[in-house]
C-alpha cells in the first residue's frame, strides 16, 4: 500500500480507527476544527486536542445535484451531531441519495474513502458518514 495523507488535519488515520479531533478551548470547552488565534466564545488562548466520537446523528442534510466539476452528483451533504459533542459537515455515503432513504435524525458512523492520488502516489483520504444500522 502506498502512502496516505488525511484530506484535512482534523482527520486522524494513524492512531487506532480513523477519527476526528478538534481543538478544545481550555476555558470554555468550545470546539474548533481549524486553528484559532483565540476562542471565539471566551477569548481564551489555551487549546488542547480532543478526540471526537465516530458515531452521531444527522441533524440536517441536502442532496446536491448541481456541483463543481469533477464531483459526482447527486450526493448527500449532511450535518452530523457527534455523540458526546462536536458538530461536523461531511458527505453521507452508502445510502441512496434521495429523500426516501436519507432521514433527519438517522444514526450514522464515520467511514473513509480515497479522494484522490497525487503524482507521488500519495492517496488523500477523506471522511464521510454512513448509516449505522
Amino acid at each position: 500500500m502506498g502512502k496516505q495523507i488525511p484530506i484535512v488535519d482534523y482527520l486522524v488515520l494513524d492512531d487506532g480507527e480513523p477519527h476526528l479531533v478538534a481543538w478544545e478551548s481550555v476555558d470554555s470547552g468550545a470546539l474548533y476544527f481549524d486553528r484559532r488565534n483565540a476562542d471565539a466564545k471566551s477569548g481564551g488562548t489555551e487549546f488542547r486536542r480532543r478526540r471526537l466520537a465516530t458515531t452521531g446523528v444527522v441533524r440536517s442534510f441536502t442532496i446536491v445535484h448541481r456541483t463543481v466539476p469533477g464531483i459526482p452528483a447527486p450526493y448527500v451533504s449532511a450535518l452530523v451531531d457527534l455523540d458526546g459533542g462536536g458538530s461536523v459537515k461531511a458527505n453521507l455515503v452508502n445510502v441512496e441519495p434521495d429523500p426516501d432513504h436519507v432521514k433527519l435524525g438517522m444514526p450514522v458512523r464515520l467511514t473513509t474513502f480515497t479522494a484522490g492520488t497525487d503524482d507521488d502516489g500519495t492517496e488523500a483520504i477523506a471522511f464521510a458518514f454512513e448509516p449505522a444500522n
Binding site: 484530506i7 440536517s60 441536502t62 445535484h65 448541481r66 463543481v68 450535518l79 458538530s87 484522490g116 477523506a126
Partner: protein, 402 residues
C-alpha cells in the same frame, strides 16, 4: 440613545434584470439621480455618500459615481458587507445624520452579477504536477467542496431549512416550495422584478433540483441592478416643503448584527441567531410588535431561507413557519404579507443593491404609491437582509404622521 430621527426623503430602484448594455456606474447613477429627483433635492444638498457594491468593493464606486453625477467634495464611504452591503451603505449615511455630521445624505447599492453561476466555492483547476501538502487553517490537501459536504449557497441554505424541519413538525419540501409559489405569484405585479412569471406548486417542485429541497425555481437568480435612498434628519426635514414632508418615511429602527458564538455554527452558518437578535432589537427600538407589521421584505435568497425567517422575525408562532405558509399567512392577502415585490427569488438579488431595494419597496407602499401591488393602508413595514459571514440588517419603517 442620542441623535435625531432619520427619514427617507427619496428612493428609487432600477429595473432588475440583465443589463449588458450599461456598466455598473450607469446603474448606480440611474438609481442615485432617481432617488434625488424623487426627494426633490440635488447632489449639492448631500452631505455624505454611502456606496455599496460587493464585487467591486475595491473600485471606489462612490467616487466613480460622483464623477458622473456631481463632485462636491463630500465624504464617501465605500462599503462591502456580504449580502448586507446595501443596508450597510444606508447605515453609514444614517449614522452620519444621527451623529450630527450631516443633514442629508445619499446611499446607493449596485451590483452587476452577469451570469454568475453558483456562488460560494472557489473553483480551482489542477495545474501541472500535484503533490499533496496540508495548507491553511484546516490543513487541507485539496479543495474539499463536494468531498466534505457542500459550501455552495443552494446547499448551505437547504441545510439551514432542513435543520428547521428536523426541529419542527409540519415542514418539508412542499412547505418550502410554497414559499417560491407565493413569491413568483407576487412578482407578476412588480414591473421592476427580474422575472414576472407565475408557476404552479407542481412546476416548482418538478423543476431541476439544485440542492434538495431547493429546485431551480426556489433559488434567486443572478441579477444586475441598483437602488438608492436619500436620507434626511428630522430638523432639516421640517424646513422642506409640505409635499416632501408628507411623502417622507420614518426609519423607526436601524439595526446591524453579526454572529454571536454558537456551538453549531462552526461548520454550518447559523442564519437564525443574528436575525433573531436584530429583530428583537428593532422591535424594541421602534416600539413595534410583529403583529403591527403591514408588510415585510425579507431575505429569501432561497425558499428554505424565507421559511425559517418567518420564525426568526417572529411573524409566526415559535416553530410554526410550516403552518404559517400552509395557511397563506405571508401571501399579499394574508396575515402579514411577505415579499410582495416578488422577493429575491423572482425580483432578483443584485447583492449590493438588495438591502436598499427592500427599503424602496416598503417605502413605496407606506407612501401609497405602489400601484397594482399596493398593500392598502400600509403604515408599518420591516426589511431584512442577511449575508453569510455573517451580517444581518433589519429596518423598521413607518408612514409619516404629517
Amino acid at each position: 440613545m442620542s441623535g435625531q430621527d432619520v427619514w427617507i426623503l427619496g428612493t428609487y430602484m432600477t429595473k432588475f434584470g440583465r443589463h449588458n448594455d450599461v456598466d455598473l456606474i450607469d446603474l448606480a447613477a440611474e438609481a442615485a439621480m432617481g432617488a434625488l429627483r424623487d426627494g426633490g433635492v440635488t447632489i449639492h444638498d448631500m452631505d455624505v455618500l454611502g456606496a455599496g457594491s460587493l464585487f467591486n468593493a475595491q473600485a471606489g464606486v462612490g467616487q466613480q459615481l460622483q464623477k458622473q453625477i456631481g463632485q462636491t467634495g463630500i465624504p464617501v464611504y465605500n462599503v462591502a458587507n456580504a449580502c448586507a452591503t446595501g443596508a450597510t451603505a444606508l447605515r453609514t449615511v444614517y449614522l452620519s445624520i444621527r451623529a450630527g455630521e450631516a443633514d442629508m445624505g445619499l446611499a446607493v447599492g449596485v451590483e452587476q452579477m452577469g451570469k454568475g453561476g453558483l456562488l460560494g466555492a472557489a473553483g480551482k483547476g489542477d495545474r501541472g504536477r500535484t503533490v499533496y501538502e496540508p495548507k491553511g487553517r484546516y490543513g487541507s490537501v485539496m479543495q474539499v467542496e463536494g468531498l466534505l459536504g457542500t459550501g455552495l449557497m443552494p446547499g448551505v441554505f437547504a441545510q439551514a431549512g432542513m435543520e428547521y424541519a428536523y426541529e419542527h413538525d409540519g415542514v418539508g419540501f412542499e412547505q418550502f416550495a410554497k414559499v417560491a409559489e407565493k413569491n413568483h405569484a407576487h412578482s407578476t405585479l412588480n414591473p421592476l422584478a427580474h422575472y414576472q412569471k407565475q408557476f404552479s406548486l407542481e412546476e416548482i417542485m418538478n423543476a431541476e433540483m439544485m440542492a434538495y429541497p431547493n429546485t431551480l425555481l426556489m433559488c434567486c437568480p443572478n441579477t444586475d441592478g441598483a437602488a438608492a435612498v436619500v436620507l434626511v434628519g428630522e430638523e432639516k426635514l421640517r424646513t422642506l416643503s409640505a409635499d416632501q414632508q408628507r411623502r417622507a418615511v420614518k426609519i423607526s429602527a436601524s439595526v446591524l448584527t453579526t454572529d454571536p458564538w454558537t456551538e453549531r455554527a462552526q461548520v454550518q452558518p447559523d442564519v437564525n441567531t443574528l436575525t433573531r437578535n436584530a429583530a428583537k432589537q428593532a422591535y424594541e427600538t421602534a416600539g413595534v410588535d410583529p403583529q403591527d407589521l403591514d408588510l415585510v421584505e425579507l431575505h429569501d435568497c432561497f425558499a428554505t431561507a424565507e421559511l425559517i425567517h418567518y420564525d426568526n422575525l417572529m411573524l409566526c408562532e415559535p416553530g410554526g413557519a410550516g403552518k404559517f405558509i400552509d395557511e397563506r399567512g405571508p401571501w399579499r392577502d394574508g396575515a402579514i404579507p411577505v415579499n410582495v415585490s416578488g422577493g429575491l427569488i423572482s425580483k432578483g438579488h443584485p447583492i449590493g443593491a438588495t438591502g436598499i431595494a427592500n427599503i424602496y419597496e416598503v417605502s413605496t407602499h407606506l407612501r401609497g404609491e405602489a400601484g397594482d401591488r399596493q398593500i392598502e393602508g400600509a403604515k408599518v413595514g420591516l426589511t431584512h437582509v442577511i449575508g453569510l459571514g455573517s451580517a444581518c440588517a433589519v429596518h423598521i419603517l413607518e408612514k409619516g404622521a404629517a
